[in-house]
């Protein structure tokens, strides 16, 4: 699977189109994007678990799941969260403007927002730009992927083709990070598009599982956002459905691969990140513990800072495992490895070549492997290092 940015063009599934433009809210960057489907699309979503829900989430929850969605419009720069009744009105006006330009019903248009919390969106600029935004739609993802970025550095889009028994379908994934990333579900915006024919119930269960193994396993800073939503749209334009168990497994694997690819892209592009950290827990007595421990390690500012400095300070990893309630009896048997070098086993430090490991930790991807030797469950989580640039970005933003 190859990433979207650069010279590569991410072609959308059949009958999907996308666009991005600058409507004037942000000064230099695109700030308004839309994904449209020529055919009515089965659409489901997962939402942030934050009790403070932004206006677009309140709106989307009322409409989904649906079999009739034609578009998702997204603005960046202003989150439309903590904006009260006026925020809800302006969110509706954004959907309405897109529906008018597309000639569809407002209830067929979804919305998403990302940016600073507590500012009313500049709805006049958004409404005015809508016809031109839609007119610029193409069958590639890049312009849309750019328009939804906030502090991300890299647009994130990827497409894969799945060969099923009746023919080919395509899956495109697009997302943005990169601060307030500690999904539960995903502290991010995500769009999974396919031309497969599928029923809403199955789409919902696939999405839930995909998100659990991808976006819900990443963390940039442990702050869970008010605006996070992942859409899964299936417009059936390929004429291909899932005919048997083999088709189901192939499609599911491909969808999960797209979701994990995007999740890693978000972690690697976390605010101020210079390295992707992949934490694998093996041998856990239960899945919940494996997931919590893996995420706990990606969350620790002490571990993140150590990795930033290529410092093999594994004691902080052990301490975090204990803080996440990995039982003392497991910790006694735990083996911790950094870049495949074992540093702790049998409850005691191991001898290792510090200088050599220090050099290996300078790579752009750091692997922390933890074997609890206490069961069969596994989990993988992704995070990033903590650099001074994170402070720069978040001291000045707003």
């Amino acid at each position: 699977m190859s990433p979207g940015p650069g010279l590569h063009r991410t072609v959308l599934p059949k009958s999907f189109f996308a666009s991005g433009a600058n409507c004037g809210v942000r000064r230099y960057r695109p700030d308004l994007g839309i994904i449209t489907s020529e055919k009515e699309a089965v659409t489901v979503a997962t939402y942030t678990t934050n009790e403070c829900q932004a206006a677009p989430l309140i709106y989307c929850r009322e409409l989904l799941p649906s079999r009739r969605i034609r578009a998702v419009v997204t603005n960046s720069g202003q989150a439309n969260a903590a904006t009260g009744e006026l925020g809800l009105q302006r969110n509706f006006a954004m959907a309405e403007a897109a529906a008018r330009s597309l000639g569809v019903e407002t209830s067929q248009v979804l919305t998403a927002s990302t940016g600073v919390i507590g500012h009313q969106i500049e709805i006049d600029k958004i409404v005015q730009a809508m016809p031109e935004l839609i007119a610029r739609s193409t069958n590639v993802a890049e312009n849309f992927a750019l328009s939804i970025l906030t502090t991300d550095l890299v647009p994130k889009a990827v497409t894969t083709v799945v060969r099923l028994s009746q023919g080919e379908v395509r899956i495109t994934g697009i997302c943005k990070g990169s601060g307030m990333i500690h999904p539960n579900m995903a502290t991010m915006l995500g769009y999974l598009l396919t031309d497969l024919q599928i029923e809403p119930e199955l789409a919902q269960s696939l999405l839930r599982e995909a998100v659990d193994q991808s976006f819900n396993m990443i963390s940039v800073d442990g702050d869970c956002s008010t605006n996070d939503i992942t859409f899964f749209m299936a417009n059936g334009a390929s004429g291909v459905a899932l005919k048997d168990e083999e088709d189901y497994c192939k499609f599911k694997d491909a969808l999960f691969e797209v979701a994990r690819f995007l999740a890693q892209a978000i972690a690697a592009d976390g605010e101020g990140a210079t390295k992707l950290i992949e934490v694998t827990i093996r041998g856990a007595p239960d899945l919940e513990l494996a997931r919590r421990a893996a995420r706990g390690v990606t969350l620790s500012p002490l571990i993140k800072s150590a990795i930033h400095g290529a410092n093999p300070n594994w004691g902080r990893i052990l301490a975090r495992l204990g803080a996440e309630k990995v039982p003392a009896s497991c910790l006694q048997k735990t083996v911790i490895s950094l870049q495949s070098v074992a540093v702790f086993a049998d409850g005691s430090p191991l001898e290792f070549d510090r200088r050599c490991l220090h050099d290996q930790l300078k790579q752009s991807k750091v692997q922390i492997d933890i074997d609890l030797a206490s069961g069969k469950e596994e989990a993988v989580a992704w995070g990033c290092d903590l650099s001074k640039q994170y402070i720069d970005i978040n001291t000045e933003y707003s």
Copy 2:
């Protein structure tokens, strides 16, 4: 109450003595300290909830509560955590060396350690220095307070006098921070000393409550340590006991005040901190929610970074409250104030003078007041801002 450092000398309660020295583990700073009591002291403790417990904690848990403690020896620089059987042996040797020099039983000597995890302590240097360390004991806290510091900048010690019906007693508190601070109980070392006569059961319940309202409400980085312990020693040397409810309340208030003073001192001296952040939650429907919400705000790296930049980005506070599961119905009624300036109410942003508030947020103490308007419970938590120096300290440490 005035702090310990500087020209001020913190005089210990009757018959307590303390000392600190450099035994050679660390290059420039004192790294070994001891508190002794001429009389056997009733001693209780609270411990980290981390599943990974350092050797001294395993040792102290076996001895406490006790009516017979004569000393606590503490080394800094090496945490004696994740050190296996050898770590336990060396910890015992440290207690034994102190007992020998003092002419008491080893079971009358407690231990504590702080520093890097996963290194065996240099026990020979510690044992060798013990007689000289004890010979240098005085009735003031400063040398001991210095010897237990790691990345702290300021020694933390304070004394208060309580006038009870039978006479005066004294309470001294000493502690250290300043990384891996997210107590549960306290990610720190704490020593509360008094010459009051008190039974172990009452001492334990007072300590538990004091810690819950002080050390358990601070956070520097959300990382919970393997070594945290707070001791409460009462040697009865004043000859004064708690005779009635009034005595009890006076003593309790003074003890809590000492604990809160120390907790704030730790937060203010957090790694890289330039500001103390005090978060007050009022009007909560239950105490658990109030405590979780208050601590959640102090934990958020986004809020900590914003405060570092004197940036009145209250949206991040609201988002964190929602992430901590303050119900949406509460958030609708919530009023958020920064330095007494209301910025959010009735579910919507309020108008305020951004430049003026920016200036007010440059002060060394920032107050975040949150009224959930949904009940009578309150909680206060303390934290610090997140600066680039935190990254420097934790990239290089070990």
